[in-house]
Amino acid sequence: MTIELTINGKSHKVEADAATPLLYVLRNDLALNGAKFGCGLGQCGACTVLVDGKATLSCITPISLAEGRQVTTVEGLGTAEAPGPVQAAFIELQAAQCGYCIPGMMMSAQGLLQSNPAPTETEIRNALQTNLCRCGTHMRILAAIRRASELMQASLGPVANKRAG
């Protein structure tokens, strides 16, 4: 069947079985590399994307559920030339080893920071609880998210800063 999806602000028509997990459509039909296959079981977070601003595991989300919603992948956060705040923070703090888990981490972080621009350490850790990293990059990932929070607040101006204070 044909399903209409809005990915990173652009609408796409996709020909696929309604049960197809969103992840496969993103990676194959739309050639987006950001979301990764890690387990296909909802256990590792490598496939995390935002659906209507909420961190969602795309490996266990059928495309039929994504229809009519806003899907954001790491490609929607910026580019290597013009990285968004979360990407800029991960680059600045060199928060990657193999990097395979990182887009999923960034999408969980983006989801958190959009709803809570100045999260506490515990809130950050809770938001990442599903995301696994085997390289042990955790300390840098946490630091990058704290940095991304700063960068986002700086760009949001005084209102968001008040919340942080």
Binding site: Q43, C98, M139
Partner: protein, 742 residues
């Protein structure tokens, strides 16, 4: 902190050279060993095996410079480090160099990217090649400009004369200019003039990785590419009794069901179609086990019973005659996973008799030989190209997935095949880290020093990398199968199961034996550090117990037995930065210390850890860790910190949580809930890594240095917090509760 220069002089002869540091590698000890065969001089690093400069560096007439390495990026940042080294000696910014990594059609054969040896071998080769290329360019410019080479400088990809004339690198090269054999001696930059070495340059691969770039083999999309999945149960080497695949062949998108002996796979147009068909096919296949697996709970006894031969790792004096108080203990380690976050993947296409395979293998050349052998093809008809995968931490399923893809592609000529393992296939099918049993009997003399040391370890070979087709799952399963390898005991300087079994401490009377186990019920292969992890845990746990017996501080007790000044430096630095003391900690907290010199010939690492125990649940959390590492000359200090932090956190996960589980039929830990690893709720508050840089000394390699010391520091901290020693890994909640009697 700098090393005393005498260290450098004894390590590799240094001669002051004109305008630089003249390093004579002909003074290396093993060069003497080779002097019986006078034909070829010993060359630095991997130049020894790929001797022509143009194997490493190419300069195009337009000035474009490409450097080649046989090593692969595994997430350890090797691209960046190698670029820095080449850039330094070529006098060209790293951003202006292109780097080509592991590809059998293009790069030198450097075997495996393993053992923390990339900087040591490839880095050293590139460094010398670059330095010699720069000298050749200067020499050629001097000839053309009719000037003395000594007055010429290099900058901006050009050789410049004091009179303002200059010649670009591209102008200076002609066809065969760099087709010359490298020399044993190079004029290297002096550490005080470094522009790139020793600087924390940002990694070149990170921007692509955080923006959805096409980075991994998983991301490849070739024209006409099909998606394939294997059907492989969690039963090792299972025999396929029967499968009626006709219904699967009729499923939407399915192109082929492939059966070759016990090898079963499905190929489809779409990826989800392949997954759906794989599930259907799995439901139709009937398998039989070839043998029963041993009782998991009795694994240590199994190892001991299956000892086939014994090798002496180290022996001196007479440990049995030593007088004093005796300490005895037995330690164990279970099977553990590499557990890559991305399952193994391979892409292959057979076109006009030429097979091309893209793989995240650690060794493109050995993998090519193995795949060619499996398919009965001449190796020159097979090309293996490295593409990154998720971190592998040793020999995981990468080579197997490449072979799976190759076998499938060989049956569908002209069609590119992308083969990806599923999570359960990765968990059950990768070659595991080997289980071990370690027994120690040590004697503490009246003088408070260790008077006798007996150490016995039982373990398989830790390495079943493709030496040929027999290491590949697909080759073991296909018709006319290749039987799995049966490695033989070998005692080598790098070590294997016995890696780091010989403590670096001054022990006049010791005997270290490897009781070698040939039988291998579950497939194993190289996992980060091989035997070093468990050996260091056993040794350093015992050192702590001996310190207690001696009424000594664990750090002071270690220093008492350490005469290597670089070892002492890391121990003292880690203790100092941690704030090591004997002060009482709050209840349920403990501190632990550990040290090792990786392989006894690579990086020195010491670490202090503080843990917190939740009494009711037995949960251990690493609160903070402080480590010091000396990895010789630091190419990229932040890269060393990044990898070491990673090693500390990964080893924390191994030590606190991880064990492969199985029953008599099959592996039962087949996902992340049956094989839990570190999650963010348990990540420490703080991890510090202090790098001791030794400019001018050889690169020692970083990647695996933290594994053993971290495990040991945790074990010692748990001992300190609970008053009880846990001898079996992992230090699970259940074991902690048992130890404290809850």
């Amino acid at each position: 902190m700098n090393a005393p220069l005498t260290g450098a002089l004894t390590r590799r002869g240094l001669l002051a050279g004109a305008g630089g540091l003249l390093v004579s590698f002909s003074l290396l000890p093993h060069a003497f060993a080779q002097s019986a065969a006078p034909a070829q001089p010993h060359l630095p690093g991997s130049l020894e095996t790929s001797r022509s400069l143009d194997a490493w560096i190419r300069i195009d007439p337009n000035g474009h410079i490409t450097i080649f390495t046989g090593k692969a990026e595994l997430g350890q940042g090797v691209r960046t480090a190698l670029l820095q080294v080449a850039a330094e000696e070529l006098d060209v910014p790293p951003g202006e160099l292109e780097i080509i990594t592991a590809d059998t059609a293009r790069t030198p054969n450097e075997g495996y990217t393993a053992g923390s040896q990339s900087a040591q071998y490839s880095g050293t080769a590139l460094r010398h090649a670059a330095a010699q290329v720069r000298q050749l360019l200067i020499g050629e410019a001097a000839r053309r400009l009719e000037l003395d080479p000594g007055v010429l400088k290099t900058e901006g990809k050009a050789v410049r004369a004091p009179d303002g004339r200059s010649l670009g690198y591209g102008e200076l090269v002609s066809d065969q200019f760099l087709r010359v054999e490298a020399k044993p001696v190079s004029i290297l930059k002096k550490p005080d003039s470094y522009r790139y070495i020793g600087h924390s340059l940002p990694r070149v691969d990170i921007p692509g990785k955080v923006t959805g770039g096409e980075v991994y083999v998983h991301d490849m999309r070739l024209e006409g590419m099909l998606h394939a999945r294997v059907v492989r149960p969690a039963i090792p080497r299972a025999r396929l009794l029967s499968v009626d695949s006709s219904s699967v062949e009729a499923m939407p998108g399915v192109v082929a069901v492939i059966r070759d002996g016990d090898f079963l796979a499905v190929v489809a147009q779409g990826e989800f179609q392949a997954v759906t068909a794989m599930h259907a096919l799995a439901g139709l296949a009937r398998w039989e086990r070839r043998y029963a697996l041993p009782d998991q709970a009795a694994l240590p006894a199994y190892l001991q019973k299956n000892e086939s031969t014994v090798g002496t790792v180290s022996a001196s004096g007479d440990p049995d005659k030593a007088a004093g108080k005796v300490f005895e203990a037995t330690y164990t380690r279970p099977y553990q996973l590499h557990g890559s976050i991305g399952p193994s993947c391979g892409v292959a296409v057979l076109k006009d008799g030429q097979l091309t395979v893209w793989s995240h293998t650690q060794g493109v050349y050995p993998d090519r030989a193995a795949i060619a052998e499996m398919l009965g093809m001449p190796p020159n008809k097979v090309r293996v190209i490295h593409r990154e995968g998720a971190g592998c931490y040793g020999h995981n399923g990468a080579d197997d997935a490449a072979a799976d893809a190759a076998l499938i592609a060989s049956k569908l000529p002209g069609r590119p095949i992308r083969l990806l393992w599923m999570r359960d296939q990765e968990h059950a099918g990768e070659p595991f880290g080997a289980p071990m049993l370690m027994k120690i009997r040590a004697t503490l003399g009246d003088d408070g020093r260790i008077a006798g040391w007996n150490y016995d370890l039982w373990s398989n070979d830790h390495n079943t990398r493709p030496g040929g087709a027999r290491s590949l799952l697909a080759a073991q399963a296909k018709e006319n199968p290749f039987p799995p390898p049966v490695p033989k005991l070998a005692i080598t300087p790098n070590g294997n199961g016995d890696r780091n079994a010989n403590p670096l401490y001054d022990l006049p009377n010791k005997r270290v034996l490897w009781h070698y186990v040939e039988d291998m019920p579950l497939r194993i292969s190289a996992l980060r550090g091989l035997g070093a992890y468990a050996n260091v845990v056993a040794i350093e746990s015992s050192i702590d117990e001996l310190a207690l017996m001696a009424n000594a501080d664990p750090v002071e007790f270690r220093l008492r037995h350490l005469s290597d000044p670089r070892a002492r430096d890391v121990v003292e630095l880690a203790a100092k930065r941690f704030g090591w003391s004997n002060e009482k900690l709050p209840p349920h907290r403990g501190r632990g210390f550990a040290f090792a010199k990786y392989k006894n010939l690579a990086a020195y690492l010491a670490i202090a850890a503080e843990v917190e125990i939740e009494r009711e649940t037995g949960r251990v959390r690493l609160v903070r860790a402080v480590s010091a590492i000396d990895t010789g000359e630091a190419i990229n200090p932040d890269g060393i910190i990044n990898q070491t932090e990673g090693g500390i956190l990964q080893a924390t996960s191994w030590t606190l949580y991880e064990a492969v589980t199985f029953d008599e039929n099959e592996v039962t830990s087949t996902d992340w809930s049956s094989y839990p690893i570190l999650r963010f709720s348990s990540v420490p508050d703080k991890v510090e890594v202090h790098v001791i840089n030794r400019p001018g000394l050889p690169f020692l390699g970083t990647a695996e240095a933290a594994q053993g010391p971290t495990g040991a520091a945790l074990a010692n901290a748990v001992r300190h917090a609970t008053g009880r020693r846990i001898y079996d890994l992992p230090l699970s909640r259940q074991r902690v509760k048992q130890a404290i009697g809850i």
